[in-house]
C-alpha cells in the first residue's frame, strides 16, 4: 500500500519493481456504475471519469464525501491502483477503499491528507471487489475531481531509458520577459504551463510488447491515462494523452518502445 505524490511517497518500501515506470490506462470507473455522495449543479459524477480534465465531479460542500464505482463481471474485476488528477482535494483526507456489498468498506491504503491539487496515485495489492471508492473526509468545502482511475496498472517491463526528462523538472512553461529600451526590467509573465515528455524503454520482449503494450495502446487511442514513476522518495505523475507511440526492434528479439505524453502534472 503506497501513496505516491510529487512531494512524497508513503511506504515506498512496499513497492515492487520500484524503479520501473507505471501506466494507469485501465479504468473501472469507465466500465462500471459510478455514483457519488453528492453532486453540485453542473458537477455530475460522470465528469470525473469522462477523460476530460476541464470538467469535474463537484461535491456540494460536505465534510465527508465519496465517489464509487460498482463493477460486475466474471471473474470479479480487480484493481491494484487508484489515481486522481485535476482535483481540488487539498486539505482532504483521502482513502481508497473496496467493498463487496457497498456498505462495508476496507481500506486499500492508509488515509492520506492531500497537501495540494497535484495528481495522486495509490498502489496496493491486486484486490477483487464489487465496489471501489475514494473516501474523502475533512473536506474544507466543495471539492472536485476531474479524473479518477482505478484498475490494474501496467508496469513497464524495463526501466526508463537514459535521457528521460522528469516532467516536474521539464514543465512546458512559456515566459515573456520585458526589458525597456533604457535597460530596466519591465516585468515577467508566465504565458502557458503544461507537461510534455518522452517515455522510452529499451529491451522489452516481443511477448510483453504484443500483449501488455498493445492493450495500453488500444486504451490510449481513446482515453487519457496516468503515467507515474518513483525515485528516491519523490513521484513523477502525469495525467495526459499519448502521442506518437512506437515500438522497434533493437536486436533480433528485443524492442525499444516509446511514446510522448502531453498533459498535466499540477
Amino acid at each position: 500500500m503506497t501513496t505516491i505524490t510529487h512531494e512524497t511517497i508513503i511506504d515506498e518500501a512496499s513497492l515492487s519493481d520500484a524503479l520501473k515506470p507505471r501506466i494507469g490506462h485501465e479504468n473501472l470507473f469507465r466500465d462500471g456504475t459510478v455514483s457519488a455522495s453528492t453532486e453540485a449543479l453542473n458537477g455530475a459524477v460522470a465528469q470525473a471519469y469522462d477523460g476530460l480534465t476541464y470538467d469535474a465531479w463537484v461535491s456540494t460542500g460536505g465534510a465527508t464525501e465519496w465517489v464509487r464505482v460498482q463493477v460486475a463481471g466474471s471473474p470479479t474485476p480487480s484493481a491494484d491502483y487508484m489515481a486522481v488528477a485535476a482535483h481540488t482535494l487539498s486539505g482532504c483526507t483521502l482513502t481508497p477503499q473496496s467493498s463487496n456489498d457497498g456498505s462495508s468498506w476496507s481500506d486499500l491504503a492508509s488515509a492520506f491528507t492531500a497537501v495540494n491539487d497535484r495528481p495522486i496515485v495509490w498502489e496496493f495489492a491486486a484486490t477483487q471487489a464489487n465496489y471501489f471508492r475514494l473516501s474523502i473526509t475533512n473536506a474544507p468545502g466543495a471539492v472536485s475531481i476531474g479524473a479518477i482511475h482505478a484498475g490494474l496498472k501496467l508496469t513497464m517491463e524495463r526501466g526508463l531509458a537514459i535521457g528521460f526528462e522528469p516532467p516536474s523538472l521539464n514543465e512546458d512553461v512559456t515566459f515573456t520577459n520585458a526589458m525597456s529600451e533604457g535597460g530596466q526590467i519591465l516585468g515577467r509573465a508566465i504565458v502557458r504551463r503544461g507537461v510534455e515528455t518522452d517515455i522510452a524503454a529499451n529491451n522489452v520482449t516481443w511477448l510483453w510488447a504484443r500483449d501488455d503494450w498493445r492493450a495500453f495502446l488500444d486504451a490510449a487511442n481513446l482515453y487519457a491515462c496516468f503515467f507515474w514513476w518513483v525515485n528516491e522518495g519523490r513521484g513523477e505523475i502525469v495525467y495526459g494523452g499519448v502521442d506518437d507511440p512506437k515500438a522497434a526492434f533493437v536486436d533480433h528479439e528485443l524492442l525499444r518502445v516509446s511514446f510522448e505524453i502531453k498533459g498535466i502534472n499540477r
Binding site: L41, N42, G43, A44, A46, Q47, D50, L52, T53, Y54, D55, A56, V58, G62, A63, T64, A86, H87, T88, S90, G91, T113, A114, V115, N116, D117, T137, N138, P140, G141, A142, S144, G146, T176, A178, M179, S180, E181, G182, G183, Q184, I185, L186, G187, R188, A189, I190, V191, R192, R193, G194, V195, G263, I264, N265, R266
Partner: protein, 851 residues
C-alpha cells in the same frame, strides 16, 4: 486582487478566454403537455414521433415548435490549453441573466487581434477584428444538450464539438463574442489540524496591538470534529490560565452553546453563553464570532455571538447577552493569543482555517492567523498583520499545519471586449476552427445599413412637369402603407421622384395598396432646389431623410435608427460635451434623397467637419467621438520614456508624407440634392485656403490639395467651413512623425485618441538631445502582454491654447473668474490694457496688465 493589480505584478500569469453566444431556447421539449388537464397549453408543444423523430437541441435550427421558440443567450466558454486553468470560476458575475457552460472548454488555441484604426479627418477607418482559433475535439454534450441523458447514443463517439455546434446553431452571424484577457493567481489556503490534546495549538506573543481593553471582536473559521464536544473547547483566547494572566476566551460548550469569558480591569471573571446551541454538523466548516461592546450606551455591556458561511454575511446566534447591568472592560495581563485552546486546557479538535482579533467591533484587524501564508508542516509563520504565529506540537497525533495553492481567478481579474461574429472558418482536416468577429461598427457597412431605406412605392398616376392637374395630393401604390408616415414635428416629409424632390405634410390610406401623400408642394426644402419634371405612372417614389442637427445628434440618429446599433453603446452626453467644447456645437444638415450606406454617410461627415473620428472602444463598450483638438485641461497625458516604459527594440519611426495637405478647396451649400456629389456647379459657395510656407520650396515645395465637396455644410456654415480649412491645414501641412512602440501591460494606461508625452532617443532635436514629443494615440494593439501603440505627433504640441467660454460666462471679468475658468478660457484686456475686475486702471486687482 484585480486586473489593475495583477497586470503590474512580475511573475503574473496571463490567461484568456473567449465566450460565444448561442440563442438557446429556454423551454423544455414538450413542456406544454405538463400543463394541468383542461388548461391551455403553455410552452413547447413538440412531441417525439409527432413533430420530430427525436428531441431538439433547443436551437432554432432543430426547433420543432417555432411558434413557442423562446431564445435566451447561452454562452459557451473556451480557455487556453494550460494546466493552470482555474477549476472553478464564477461566470455568472459577467452575465447574471444569461445561461452558459459552467466550465471552460480548453479548446482555445490563439486569438489574433487586429485593433481598430480610425482615419482622422477621413473615415471611420478600419474595424477591429478578432480571429479566434480553436482546436476541435470530442465532447460529451453535457451542459450543451438538455436531453443528453435521453439520447440513444454516446455523444463522445459522435462528431466533434464544433461540427456539432455548427450543425445545431448555424445562425451565428451577428451573435456576440466576448474576449476576456486577465490573469490567474496561485491562491494559497490552508488549515491547522488540531487533535484536541494538551499542548497542541497555535499562538502569538502578547503585544500592545493585541492588548485590547475595551470593545473587542474575535473571529475564527473552523471545522470542529464535534460541535457539541464532551469537554469545553476554545476557538481563540488570550488566557494563559496560570497566575493572573487571564484576559478573555471564546469557546463552545458541550451543549453546543458558545461561551465568551473575560476578566475585567478589576480581575473579576465575567462570562456569558449564547442563548441557543450552534446547530452545526460535526466536521462542517463555519465562521464563528463574538463581539463585546463594553459600554452599550444604556449603562450596560452587550455580547453577541454570530455565525457565517462566508465570513462576510453574519447571522446572530440567539439573542444579545450580558453578565449584568453594568459597563465593563478587559484587563491586560500579557497573555499569549492562542488558537485552539487556552494555557493548559480546552484544546480544540478539528481544523482551523483562520482566526482574527479586531480592536473594536468591526475594528481594525490586529492579529490574523492565516495558515495559507505558511507551508505544509511549518512551525512558524508571519501573519499579514506582522505578528509571528507558532504551531505548538505535543504527542501524536500532533498539531499540523497544512497549506496548498491552486490557480484562482475572479471576473475582476479580467477585462472584457465584445464583438459580433462574422464567420466560421473550418473545421478542416487539421481539426482547427476559427471564428472571425468584428466590432459593432461593422453593422454600419454600406452593404448592411442604409439611410433612407429603399422605398417600395410607385406613382399611381403620371405627373406633368407643372403643378396641375393635382398639386395637393400624390397617390402611391405600395405594399407597405406606413412607409411614408410622418413622425416628429413639424410633420413634413420629402419624397424623390426621378430628379425632383417633393414636400408633403400628411398621408391618407386610400386602399389596401394605395396611400395618398397630402399637402404636396412640388419643391425641395430651402435651401435646396430641384426642377419640376414630368413623371410616369410606375415611377419610384423614394422617401428622403432630412438630417439637421449637431454632429452627435446626426450620427446618433444614423447609428441607432438606421444602423440598428444599441443606444447603450453611445455615451451621448460625452459626445455632446466634446462637440460643445471643441466644435462650438456646429450644425450640419443634409437632405439625403436616395439610399446611401451608413459608413459612406458618416465618412462624409468626418471628412467635412473637424471630427477626428468615431471608433468603438471594446473595453468600455462605447462608441467614442473625438474632435480634432489638443489634449484638454484635465485630460490625462501619460509620460512614456525609453527608460521606464518603452520595450527594447520596439520603436519604429516613420513619416507619413501622403497625409500632407497644404491647400484646402472646399465647396459647400449644395443646390440640388439629387445630383452627384462631385458636380462643381451644384454648390453655392467655395473656399480656398493654402499654407504658402508649406508650399514653398523651403518646405514641401509642392501643392498638396484636398478638395472637399461638402454636402453637410450649408451656406450658413461659412465660419465653420473656414475653421475646418484652417485647422486641417494646421494639422496636416507638416510632415508629422508616426511612431510605433511597445510597452508592458503595466503601462497600458492610454487608449485611442489620448495623448502621451514621449521621451525617446529616436526623437531628438537639432542638438541631438532627446526632446519630449506629444503624441496622439492612433491604435492600440493589446492582444499580448506587450502592448503595441501607434501614435502620431500632435500638431498642437504641448503649447498653450485658449478657447471661447460658453455663453453663460459672457462678461466674466478676470478678477471674478475661478482658477479653473482662468485656466480654461480666453480673457482679454480693455483699451487700457487692464484685466481688473472693474476694468479700471485704478483697480488692477490681480495686477494683470496687457504688456
Amino acid at each position: 486582487m484585480s486586473w489593475d493589480a495583477e497586470r503590474s505584478r512580475s511573475g503574473k500569469q496571463p490567461f484568456q478566454y473567449v465566450e460565444i453566444e448561442l440563442d438557446r431556447c429556454s423551454r423544455i421539449y414538450g413542456d406544454a403537455f405538463t400543463s394541468p388537464p383542461g388548461s391551455p397549453l403553455v410552452g413547447c408543444q413538440a412531441q417525439v414521433g409527432v413533430t420530430g423523430a427525436d428531441k431538439c437541441y433547443n436551437s432554432w435550427e432543430t426547433c420543432q415548435d417555432e411558434t413557442n421558440f423562446n431564445p435566451l443567450s447561452f454562452w459557451v466558454r473556451f480557455c487556453e490549453q494550460t494546466s493552470d486553468a482555474p477549476r472553478s470560476f464564477n461566470f455568472d458575475v459577467a452575465s447574471p441573466s444569461d445561461e452558459g457552460l459552467a466550465v471552460f472548454l480548453p479548446l482555445l488555441r490563439r486569438v489574433q487581434y487586429s485593433p481598430g484604426l480610425p482615419e482622422p479627418g477621413e473615415s471611420l477607418g478600419q474595424r477591429s477584428q478578432l480571429k479566434v482559433e480553436f482546436s476541435d475535439a470530442p465532447h460529451h454534450d453535457i451542459g450543451i444538450d438538455k436531453y443528453v441523458t435521453e439520447r440513444a447514443f454516446d455523444p463522445m463517439t459522435r462528431g466533434m464539438f464544433f461540427r456539432k455546434l455548427k450543425a445545431r446553431w448555424p445562425h451565428y452571424i451577428g451573435r456576440r463574442l466576448r474576449w476576456y484577457q486577465g490573469y490567474i493567481r496561485q491562491e494559497r489556503t490552508g488549515y491547522l489540524s488540531l487533535p484536541g490534546t494538551a499542548g497542541n495549538f497555535a499562538s502569538t506573543p502578547d503585544s500592545p496591538a493585541v492588548s485590547i481593553i475595551a470593545d473587542i471582536d474575535v473571529r475564527a473559521k473552523a471545522a470542529l470534529d464535534d460541535w457539541t464536544p464532551a469537554v469545553f473547547q476554545v476557538f481563540i483566547s488570550k488566557d494563559d490560565v496560570s497566575g493572573a494572566n487571564r484576559e478573555w476566551q471564546l469557546g463552545v460548550k458541550s451543549d453546543g452553546a458558545f461561551q465568551f469569558t473575560w476578566w475585567d480591569s478589576g480581575g473579576t471573571l465575567r462570562q456569558v453563553a449564547s442563548s441557543v446551541a450552534n446547530g452545526i454538523s460535526d466536521g462542517t466548516v463555519k465562521h464563528v464570532r463574538a463581539t463585546l461592546d463594553v459600554d452599550n450606551g444604556a449603562g450596560g455591556h452587550t455580547v453577541q455571538f454570530l455565525l457565517s458561511d462566508d465570513g462576510l454575511s453574519w447571522t446572530q446566534l440567539g439573542t444579545d447577552q450580558n453578565a449584568g447591568a453594568f459597563t465593563t472592560s478587559i484587563r491586560d495581563q500579557g497573555s499569549l493569543v492562542r488558537v485552539g485552546g487556552v494555557g493548559d486546557s480546552s484544546f480544540a479538535a478539528g481544523k482551523f482555517y483562520y482566526a482574527e482579533l479586531r480592536n473594536g467591533i468591526d475594528g481594525s484587524v490586529v492579529a490574523a492567523f492565516d495558515p495559507g501564508r505558511a507551508s505544509t508542516g511549518a512551525r512558524e509563520f508571519m501573519a499579514e498583520t506582522g505578528e509571528i504565529w507558532t504551531v505548538n506540537q505535543s504527542g501524536s497525533p500532533f498539531a499540523e499545519l497544512i497549506a496548498w495553492e491552486r490557480p484562482a481567478a475572479t471576473i475582476n481579474d479580467f477585462r472584457m471586449r465584445e464583438y459580433v461574429m462574422e464567420r466560421f472558418e473550418g473545421p478542416g482536416a487539421d481539426g482547427r476552427v476559427a471564428i472571425v468577429a468584428k466590432d459593432v461598427l461593422k453593422l454600419l457597412d454600406d452593404d448592411r445599413a442604409q439611410a433612407p431605406m429603399k422605398s417600395k412605392g410607385e406613382l399611381v398616376n403620371a405627373m406633368l412637369a407643372s403643378e396641375s392637374p393635382d398639386a395637393a395630393n400624390i397617390d402611391v401604390s405600395t405594399s407597405e402603407l406606413t412607409e411614408y408616415d410622418l413622425t416628429g414635428s413639424p410633420s413634413i416629409g420629402y419624397v424623390r421622384i426621378g430628379g425632383e424632390v417633393i414636400t408633403y405634410t400628411g398621408t391618407a390610406v386610400q386602399s389596401a395598396t394605395v396611400v395618398r401623400l397630402t399637402g404636396v408642394t412640388r419643391a425641395a426644402p430651402s435651401p435646396y432646389t430641384t426642377e419640376m419634371k414630368q413623371h410616369d405612372a410606375g415611377d419610384a417614389v423614394q422617401l428622403c431623410v432630412y438630417f439637421v442637427g449637431t454632429i452627435p445628434e446626426v450620427v446618433r440618429e444614423l447609428m441607432v435608427t438606421y444602423g440598428n446599433i444599441s443606444s447603450a453603446f453611445i455615451p451621448f452626453t460625452d459626445w455632446e460635451t466634446e462637440a460643445t467644447t471643441w466644435l462650438a456645437s456646429d450644425n450640419i444638415s443634409r437632405l439625403v434623397t436616395e439610399p446611401q450606406g451608413l459608413k459612406s454617410l458618416i465618412d462624409e461627415i468626418i471628412q467635412e467637419t473637424l471630427t477626428w473620428g468615431f471608433w468603438f472602444d471594446e473595453v468600455e463598450q462605447e462608441i467614442k467621438f473625438r474632435a480634432v483638438r489638443p489634449a484638454d485641461i484635465g485630460d490625462t497625458v501619460v509620460d512614456l520614456s525609453d527608460d521606464a516604459n518603452i520595450v527594447a527594440d520596439s520603436v519604429k519611426l516613420t513619416d507619413d508624407p501622403n497625409r500632407v495637405i497644404n491647400e484646402v478647396q472646399m465647396l459647400y451649400g449644395q443646390i440640388d440634392p439629387t445630383k452627384r456629389k462631385d458636380e462643381l456647379d451644384n454648390y453655392r459657395k467655395g473656399l480656398l485656403v493654402a499654407d504658402a510656407d508649406s508650399q514653398s520650396t523651403n518646405e514641401i515645395g509642392q501643392r498638396r490639395i484636398k478638395r472637399v465637396f461638402s454636402r453637410w455644410n450649408s451656406t450658413a456654415s461659412e465660419s465653420v467651413v473656414l475653421r475646418y480649412a484652417e485647422r486641417t491645414l494646421a494639422s496636416r501641412s507638416r510632415n508629422l512623425a508616426t511612431i510605433e512602440f511597445k510597452v508592458d501591460r503595466k503601462d497600458e494606461d492610454i487608449g485611442t485618441a489620448q495623448f502621451a508625452d514621449l521621451q525617446t532617443l529616436y526623437l531628438i532635436d537639432q542638438f541631438g538631445l532627446p526632446v519630449t514629443t506629444r503624441m496622439q494615440i492612433m491604435r492600440v494593439d493589446s492582444a499580448e502582454e506587450q502592448v503595441t501603440y501607434r501614435a502620431r505627433e500632435d500638431f498642437f504640441g504641448a503649447a498653450l491654447f485658449a478657447r471661447w467660454a460658453p455663453a453663460a460666462l459672457e462678461g466674466l471679468f478676470w478678477g471674478d473668474a475661478t482658477a479653473a475658468q482662468r485656466e480654461q478660457y480666453l480673457f482679454w484686456a480693455d483699451s487700457n490694457g487692464d484685466l481688473g475686475s472693474l476694468e479700471s486702471p485704478a483697480n488692477p486687482t490681480d495686477g494683470k496688465t496687457w504688456a
